[in-house]
């Protein structure tokens, strides 16, 4: 199918209209969005983590995830750098020989529950929601399985159930949202024996983190990871070694993902939902235009035909009239002629009579 210039311009116009219809992202504008007031979070203190994997175990239990091949008491699994997957919402990795550290260090990895989640901004069916308690949750009922969220997440957290052919889901830490609603602690936080995970309102956690850094300047790097990274995350981390030595990205910047992509991504749901309508519209318009053209042409032809016909008719009538006239004239002529003949004959008759009648004089 070839696309005519007109049609292409039509699509372009439609797309342009589409962008203006897009709803602006939450962070749009120049105000600083610092999350929902009183939203919750967790402060992970690397200096306190002993690498016991109790949090992994608790997470597995409260989220009813399948049991791993090796038990959670097996600490040797940390020799390998692991990441979250469809059966694991959280992992603890060990970092040996981090510069400046006295011994091995451990880092817990899970969804950081961004204040403005990249996954949610990338999802065009709104399967992700940032709840007012801070949790970023996922609704499998609307998910179409596009996995844009996996690409969007700067922390590489969402995982996909590739092994499920018909009901695959995106799997990630829920911040134990169902437990939070019930007033319970997240599974990992509850079990942590050394409060390496401190639970509380995010604004309080920032205070705690600053207090610890202030009171133990030699123990901590003067930075709270997650305070501003990607526009801020509900989960925060403080550490005694640079975060890059714990495999944490330091190149994320302080801008939330939706802020970066709002121009394009805010259009995505609209384009995705409106696209068929728009294209149908464009098609309908061009179809209608063709139809009108056809109709107009037909009308014009009809008119022309009518005109020609009427003209012909008029001509015919005229010709007929003329013929009639001619006929009449001819008849008249003939009549006249006949009459003249008759008159002449009569005159001849009368002359003859007159010639005969002078003997008879009127009395």
């Amino acid at each position: 199918m070839s696309i005519s210039r007109r049609r292409f311009l039509g699509w372009l116009g439609a797309a342009g209209v589409g962008t203006t219809l897009g709803r602006s992202a939450h962070a749009a504008g120049n105000t600083l969005f610092t999350g929902y007031p009183d939203s919750l979070g967790v402060l992970f203190d690397v200096t306190r983590c002993i690498g016991c994997r109790k949090c992994e175990e608790a997470c597995n239990k409260v989220n009813e995830l399948p049991a791993p091949p090796k038990p959670f008491s097996e600490l040797a699994v940390m020799e390998r750098r692991r990441r979250t997957d469809a059966k694991t919402y959280t992992v603890v990795n060990r970092y040996e020989n981090a510069p400046g550290a006295k011994g091995p260090l451990y880092r817990k990895i899970q969804c950081n529950h961004c204040l403005e989640p990249a996954c949610a901004s990338a999802c065009f069916v709104r399967a992700f929601a940032k709840n007012s308690n801070g949790a970023v949750t996922y609704d499998e009922s609307v998910c179409v399985g596009c996995r844009y969220c996996m690409i969007a997440c700067p922390f590489e957290i969402p995982a996909y159930e590739y092994d499920k052919a018909f009901t695959p889901r995106i799997m990630k830490c829920t911040f134990c949202h169902p437990r939070l609603i019930k007033g319970q602690l997240p599974g990992c936080v509850e079990i942590c024996p050394a409060e390496a995970l401190t639970f509380g309102k995010r604004r309080n956690l920032l205070k705690i983190a600053r207090e610890r850094i202030g009171l133990f300047p030699g123990r901590y790097i003067d930075h709270i990871y997650g305070e501003t990274e990607m526009g801020g995350t509900a989960w925060l981390t403080i550490s005694g070694v640079p975060f890059r030595d714990l495999g944490m990205r330091e190149d994320l910047g302080t801008t939330a993902a939706p802020e970066l992509t709002k121009g394009a991504l805010s259009v995505v749901p609209v384009v995705a939902s409106m696209w068929p309508v728009l294209l149908t519209g464009v098609y309908a318009i061009s179809q209608r235009r063709d139809k009108i053209a056809r109709e107009e042409q037909a009308a014009a032809v009809a008119t022309a035909v009518a005109k020609a016909q009427s003209e012909a008719k008029a001509k015919l009538t005229e010709a007929m009239a003329k013929a009639e006239k001619d006929k009449k004239a001819a008849i008249d002529k003939e009549v006249k002629k006949a009459l003249e003949e008759a008159t002449r004959a009569k005159a001849q008759e009368s002359a003859a009579a007159t010639a005969a009648a002078p003997e008879k004089k009127p009395s």
Partner: protein, 528 residues
């Protein structure tokens, strides 16, 4: 316009071609020049790297500064029985450290001195069929990265004493001071200062820099003694400045005290900005200072006397003075982040394994809490009168303050403590309480510093029983620690974490490897 542009373009093209050809020519010349030093030689860290960039004082350098390896040249010269005088001219007192000149007169002169002398010597050496340095510009003028092993050197007590002995206690051989009246250097017995007090990083007016002063005086003396086959220090760069060679310098174990009229004990004297001494006990309790003791703890006088041998209070007056850079006496003594302050130095000992168990988990506050004041600031002794000499007063106070780590009698220390407040998955933990206290005390028994600060029997207990008044029977942990994440007590861990953090962090900081923190059953028995 168009014409102009094409002209520019043509000129640019010509210039580019010309510079390319020049570069090629230079490279070919360089290729024929004597080859670079062997790889093993170049990779070894050196202490003799000199950047010849003296022309900087006349403006921006036109070419990269020459990276000059001094010892390579001295070795080459010594093979030909040539000495320092080959390159260095004699100055008024010592040999000049400059190359073939005494002063830098002008850019042209200095440049010519280097270009003429260096290349001439190199060329002659090459002509004689020997290996020599470069003779073309880029041979010397190039950016070279040579690993450095250069380390600063100073006189420690041992080295000082060895010099003293070698010079038969003639301090005047090295020490001098400037007499402004006579306008010359004189020696005053008992007024010897550290070289660095006058000889600063850079030459200021008539006072030459520390670098020039030490290279003039030290090397001159060493060379003279070496020439006379006497025992002498090094006269090469690496001899003093190479990190590895520095460690080989002989160190005496017991160094006799260096005497300069300093007190054995004294009190820290507060002086007002107008020079008036503050009479003891008018405001603060007095701090007695064991000077002779601190001499043994430190390697140099400079550790405390950072810019003068005077008493601290002379420059660091109560209100601060220009001489003391407006650092007040209070700050000079208490700033934890300053190494020369009392607290700064004392604090640095807390990283020791024996101390870190308790101290690493104590917050660093600057200034620290007030509870420790009385460790140094002592009340007036009964026998003291307003006429008592500072030295006598200090002796009285120090006698009253024996640095001994104290603790409660064994029977007052519970032998075991069973932690059963929390027992869900595990049985209660039995803490060998008395053993822990005894070990902590034993560890620091020999430390006078620790003794000075742990004189009260309850002080060691505070390592764990913190944030409550010192008492023989301190409150239970659960009095304060309860449920975790209490919004009203943001900074207070819950009971379980309080126990675990206390034990685990102490073990980690003290280097106690067993039981490992992840071995639950090392402390608790699993509930069946």
């Amino acid at each position: 316009m168009m014409k102009e542009r094409s002209l520019f373009r043509r000129t640019g093209l010509v210039l580019t071609l010309a510079s390319l050809m020049l570069a090629l020519a230079i490279m070919s010349v360089q290729g024929s020049a004597p080859s670079a030093p062997p790889a093993d030689d170049a990779s070894k860290p050196r202490a003799d790297i000199i950047r010849i960039d003296g022309l900087k004082q006349f403006g921006k350098l036109e070419r990269p500064a020459v990276v000059y390896l001094h010892e390579k040249h001295t070795q080459a010269l010594s093979k030909k029985n040539k000495d320092c005088a080959t390159c260095h001219l004699p100055d008024k007192k010592y040999m000049s450290t400059k190359f073939k000149r005494l002063t830098d007169t002008s850019k042209k002169t200095v440049m010519d001195i280097y270009h003429d002398n260096c290349t001439v010597c190199h060329r002659q050496t090459v002509d004689a069929g020997e290996k020599a340095g470069p003779v073309v510009c880029t041979g010397c003028h190039q950016e070279r990265a040579v690993a450095s092993s250069w380390t600063e050197i100073g006189m420690d007590k041992s080295l000082h004493y060895r010099h003293l002995k070698a010079q038969e206690t003639k301090c005047e051989v090295c020490h001098h001071r400037f007499d402004p009246a006579a306008k010359k250097l004189i020696y005053v017995k008992g007024k010897e200062d550290n070289c660095r007090f006058c000889h600063l990083q850079e030459t200021v007016d008539n006072v030459i820099s520390m670098r020039l002063a030490s290279h003039g005086q030290c090397i001159d003396c060493h060379r003279k003694r070496l020439a006379q086959n006497q025992d002498a220090g090094p006269a090469t760069c690496g001899g003093c400045h190479d990190a590895a060679l520095q460690k080989k310098i002989q160190k005496l174990k017991d160094v006799p005290r260096l005497v300069r009229g300093q007190p054995d004990v004294t009190v820290v004297q507060a002086i007002r900005s107008d020079g008036q001494k503050v009479a003891p006990f008018t405001r603060m309790s007095v701090v007695p200072f064991n000077h002779i003791g601190h001499e043994t703890y430190n390697d140099t006088c400079r550790a405390c006397h950072h810019s003068s041998m005077d008493a601290c209070g002379k420059c660091h007056t109560l209100q601060g003075s220009k001489d003391g850079k407006f650092v007040k006496l209070q700050t000079a003594m208490h700033r934890v982040s300053a190494q020369a302050s009392c607290l700064g130095c004392h604090d640095s000992f807390q990283t020791d394994k024996r101390c870190a168990g308790c101290h690493a988990s104590m917050p660093r506050k600057d200034p620290p809490g007030l509870s420790g004041c009385v460790s140094c600031h002592m009340p007036k002794p009964a026998a003291a009168t307003p006429e008592t000499e500072p030295k006598v007063m200090a002796a009285m106070l120090l006698d009253a303050r024996q640095p001994v780590t104290a603790t409660y009698a064994d029977e007052d220390i519970p032998e075991t403590v069973e932690i059963k407040a929390l027992s869900k998955q595990f049985e209660s933990a039995k803490l060998p309480h008395r053993k822990i206290v005894q070990t902590l005390v034993k560890n620091i028994k020999d430390s006078k510093l620790a003794g000075a600060f742990h004189r009260e029997p309850g002080t060691v207990c505070q390592g764990c029983h913190h944030n409550s008044p010192v008492a023989k029977k301190p409150p239970a942990c659960a009095s304060c620690h309860g449920q975790p994440f209490d919004g009203r007590n943001l900074f207070r861990p819950g009971l379980q974490a309080a126990y675990h953090l206390q034990c685990m962090e102490c073990h980690k900081d003290m280097g106690i490897e067993k039981p490992v923190a992840t071995n639950c059953t090392g402390c608790h028995k699993e509930k069946l």
